[in-house]
Symmetry: D2
Subunit: 431 residues, 4 copies
């Protein structure tokens, strides 16, 4: 017989806390919100609640034949993209399912939670898969907030996700100018160190990279700075844009007139929708919900560039400052007297587009089995983002974390950090 020990209890309580956090994030939602899928990228909140349960059911519970499924039809219905499990229900049709109802999905969660708890109590679970399942759920918690922002933000009524959280900031002084941090290169190592705790397979193996000296911005680009780009006809100067980015501008994919995703211009000036509601544009807050194309064009306009993921990781490891976390929307960088120079807003503000394509690290191996479809099969055509955002659950960020999206994507919490070749090389910055 299995003896419950302290480690197991910790794991069980961590599992319970992670699962509860998903439910908590849905507390402010109206019943009408749970099934919405306004664009294919966005999944309904109800789907996130169900799919995260499906993950535990599929990869942990079904491993034992005595498991009784809540509903065998969910195997197809809530499979995201694991072809090894069977042909998934089409992603772009997730918003067509009014049934199972939200209420039934909550009961599905309870069914899975009870089964996991029972197995944990009997020591029958694969611990590494349980840990993976919790991190998987945390990723979907981030997506859930991100998707809710789109669901509410694209609605002409622009309702707040949560009215009662008032983010007030103490701003004794204006946001300081961006400063460059000089970083020296050489042969460096990136990727997660062995035995340093959980990481996704795509962060491994740790490996050597040759790196030239470079400079990196000490904070993210602000709304005010991006507004200057717009006012300088940045969206109209083809020479600033990658070819596909320019085609996207011309096709109106960045709005008419173009601007970051949640900006809208009214008679009184620019406004930005946030999860806390619609409000006049905060010039000191970091610009958010921009595509890689816009980030790249902005950098080109400044005569600099975006950092590679190696540059970002090395700079962050050496220079990251403690960042105050604010919920729901990113806040302005600040510099206090006496503080050493360093990277602000490294995590907890916005994901930061890099100049690196999302490709396997040298020697990369996906996880064995169907769960190996988790990360590896997406290593084509996307760009890496580093950092973490206000939507990332606490404890889910790492400096080695590799997030990835398509260059035109904007519904994520994405921002801009600049980099530049080291002083003295050919390209000089204007900053």
């Amino acid at each position: 017989m299995h003896k419950t020990n302290t480690a197991d209890q910790a794991q069980e309580s961590h599992f319970a806390a992670v699962r509860q956090h998903s439910v908590d994030l849905c507390a402010p939602l109206a019943a009408d919100d749970f099934s919405m899928q306004p664009i294919a990228d966005v999944s309904p909140p109800k789907w996130h609640l169900a799919h995260t349960s499906w993950f535990f059911e599929t990869f942990l519970l079904k491993a034992r034949p005595d498991y009784r499924e809540f509903d065998p039809r969910y195997e197809v219905l809530f499979n995201s993209y694991y072809n090894g499990v069977g042909r998934p229900f089409p992603r772009e049709q997730r918003g067509t399912l009014s049934r199972p109802t939200t209420e039934t999905v909550y009961r599905y969660r309870e069914h899975v939670d009870a089964a996991i708890a029972a197995r944990l109590g009997r020591g029958e679970l694969d611990e590494s898969l349980l840990t993976l399942g919790c991190h998987h759920e945390q990723q979907h918690q981030e997506l859930l907030l991100t998707d809710m922002k789109y669901i509410l933000g694209q609605n002409p009524l622009r309702p707040a996700y949560c009215d009662d959280i008032v983010v007030t900031e103490d701003r004794p002084e204006p946001t300081p100018d961006m400063r460059w941090l000089d970083v020296s290169g050489g042969i460096v190592e990136i990727g997660t160190k062995p035995d340093s705790g959980f990481c996704f397979d795509n962060e491994t193996p740790r490996h050597r990279v040759w790196l030239d000296d470079f400079r990196i911005g000490d904070r993210l680009i602000t709304n005010g700075e991006f507004l200057a780009f717009i006012d300088a006809d940045g969206y109209r100067r083809s020479e600033l844009w990658l070819s596909e980015g320019w085609a996207a501008v011309q096709a109106g994919r960045f709005g008419t007139p173009p601007s970051p995703l949640y900006w809208h211009r009214e008679e009184e000036g620019w406004f930005e929708y946030q999860l806390t509601g619609d409000a006049p544009l905060d010039l000191d807050a970091p610009v958010s919900h921009v595509s890689h194309f816009e980030a790249d064009a902005y950098a080109r306009w400044r005569n600099v560039r975006l950092p590679t993921e190696t540059e970002w990781e090395i700079a962050a490891e050496r220079n990251a400052l403690e960042s105050p976390r604010t919920p729901l929307r990113p806040t302005a960088a600040r510099r206090q007297a006496g503080e050493r120079a360093g990277m602000q807003q490294t995590t907890g503000s916005l994901w930061q587009w890099t100049a690196s394509a999302y490709l396997p690290y040298p020697g990369y191996r996906p996880l064995p089995g169907t769960v190996g479809e988790y990360n590896g099969k997406f290593m084509n055509g996307q760009m890496v983002l580093r950092g973490a955002s206000v939507a990332t659950p606490p404890g889910h960020d790492r400096l080695t974390y590799r997030n990835f999206f398509y260059s035109a994507d904007r519904w994520q919490f994405t921002g801009i950090r600049l980099a530049s070749d080291a002083r003295g090389t050919a390209r000089s910055d204007v900053g």
Copy 2:
């Protein structure tokens, strides 16, 4: 001061009854159902509840400047297609709106109902517009049921709209063979007679038509008869199909393999989804949810044709039998001993595709003002359907009623009635 009289009271109670019926139809819905729009043709139930209120608000209440809108943004949000009111919110995006919530929409209804009641009490309403608004609401009641069938029927779980209605039929004998009714022609008149009560503008003016003698089927085509068409390779014989219909078959628009919309083949045989749930195909019930193309191909296979709308109206006026109404799904035709020959299933079963394009009657004039967009601007590219279906609210059917949809549409409650040139003319039937 206005003196409330009996006519007003009748009108008020009719208004209240019509409004209540929409709410009653939504009683079986789950909260998740109200915002669904799985395809552009289907509108969310919540939208129907809101738009019908918008109609009263826009065309009756706003006529007086003292009316206080519930929310001025609804003018755009719940406008269906009245360009005279402004650019409507895009139809295909109705399912992207989680807000206003269903609860708020119910409060919007109450706000409008109260305002209408107050005006009625003061005799301030345009009675013909009030009547139009009630008929408009009844059309949306039919659409609401039709759309709910699609919302639930396309869901892989195939839930019933209403489990507790059990439609049991007393079937002492099998459905009798279809018989032909001979109808004589000449100069006839169709269209609503003046002063015969409410009708839509497209049913007017009553006018003369030359009509040859013809024959018409005394009941609708059954599932069993349509199955024979499938089994005889009807969907694979290009010579039976109009060119666009054949293209639709080839493109898989009628399913793979093709069949009526809600049929699906399982190991045990054919099933059909109904609002009462999924069940084995009832061979005696009329075939439903077929496109004009399928109806036309079926008729061609039988070596006959569909009736024109003139033929349908004249035949129905002279021969319609009382049809028992069943809710939610059409039931088999029957013939009782001693009953005279006549048209069964004329109304109350399924809308019936005709061979007539939806065009204005000679001398047609739309209603004056913006409400004139109601019918007239759709008189192009669609086909006329006659009759009424199990989804049509009681009291909303007329033999002169002209319904209209595109030839490929199938989500409506549509069926097949055959016609033929009179005996002795070139084309003979096989029946």
Copy 3:
């Protein structure tokens, strides 16, 4: 042995003349023109040359087993839409075939011509199919000119089809105002009379129609009159448009800013591309290359309507004046002193949109066999046009001719003739 008689000789020389006319029409083309298909509606000139030969080969020559095909692969390659012959090569890919070369296609024509001539000499041909084949070729001669106009007119260089034809018009006086012709109704007959020579199956059977008294315009609407519609914001007033027409305007399908297909606005004013080249807009010439939607909106703006096909045919039979034919582009109507009132521009100018959907006449039967796909299977979703255009080959027009296109089509030589209810009925005209 077969004795060649005069009738056969006449038929052979008619066949030869019709075939030669196709070749003559291609004389002005550059080698580069023959394979062009800028939009799916347009077929490459080479394809017309090949397909008309295919028609004779398929329906006449292959009937005898001793026929040796020029290339058996052409059966699929040059089949237009006869599913009875097999699955045709996709229409929208006709412009992807550089081979067979134009030169080879001309040899294919010669091969077919020789085989037809040999059979004719031996009296082995089905004469009615030979006649049909000649009329078929004439239809494609019209399409060939129509398609060449699109091929050259959409090219930014706007080259003339034929520089050496100078259409000079003797215009002693301005185009007279349009006048209304009053036509009395009753029971009338339309459709081709039996034994009145060749007609397509869709013009039969001649049948009775009830017709109210009406009025019809004595000439087509001019460019100048249509310009007044544009200048009066006709393309911006939604109340003038059918719903699908308005959607087409909004989607930019009629140009940005909208205008008839070959109009373009330059600094010096409006120009119109014609087969004779680009030139300033001729205000007196009839407006051409408009969709049914634009014709309908124009009529609505004038507070009148388009004629039904019954009205058009009856009016033309009673009132058509001899119209001078001009090649390649329509010319202004004129009225000479002493001339009786009558319908000008009935044929030989532009096809005229009617208010009638393209449907079978009562009692219609398609031709037997695969050639029955010629007309019947398109009787859905299109509108009837009457008359004939400058592109119609001499001898190919009839007052009973039913042409048909989709309501949004504009690449055909289409124009506008107005009609109105008889004076004294509700709708009055502004003319």
Copy 4:
């Protein structure tokens, strides 16, 4: 006065030879071929002839105000993608232009050639731009052959580009098995060395990279080896595919059933279309016209991977064997007695997909001015190919050459070379 010296004469004769080669490549074409664009990726041969002339005209001739344009409208018409010159004529409509005719385009070439020669004679040309223009023309010579293969290969008649070139191979022995070449890593340098002759900007700057030891295949994968992948259900095993590649397979983008682009299965077995005509599949020739997705899936099936571009360049620099060039279609690898181990088919056979995304080298700067749009703006979303193909003109290949296409592209001459981590690392191969 300018004195013509030997260097100038050499440049002039090089220019003339390059220009003549384009004309020579078009010699086998039929008049009908010159304007074809069956898919958007393919440009008409006529367009290549015109655009390469446009390049010289735009970037060299127009620099002086005394230049007289052949036709000022060509500035827009034959601009490929240089937004700095103005909005280019839409790429996907290049095949809609029958005018200017091929004959006129040849006169345009002569006009440009004469102007270049005159300027060269006067020493008035920017030599680096002239060199760039020649390399640009060579790139289009390769595209012209590639596009002609698609134009003819997609035609159901499958005509040969050139019947009179018979590629007969002396094959004394079967193709030897692929062998692995072991390559040692460390800090290496890639990119063109300064002062080593012409290169495109994207090959610079030469820079350091850390490289692990690796192994690389000594020849390309053959048709026979790829057939084994197909026969082993390679196209049906989702676990072998990147996510987007699998979606492409499912959507039928690689054919039904899927296979390399020009393969087709007949009763007698597999055939492959080549520029020399259609023929039974040559099992020893390298598999060609595969997408990156297929190359990647094939490698995964073999339990290895594709080389990075660094690996390819380093391995080729150290190991490339002299490869015999064959025109029009790639031939089998061979190994002669006594020959040292080395990389065969490095250039002159097929472009080889790498595992590297097309991104700027560290410190990359595009060329100044509008010509800077040449390469840099495409550095997003595409993969690098290395080597050169049978379609590459002699003298146009370099081991540092970076070609780039989208992962799904197949109309290029693309093949597969495998790589693997060094022996002893985790992943072992099956070869």
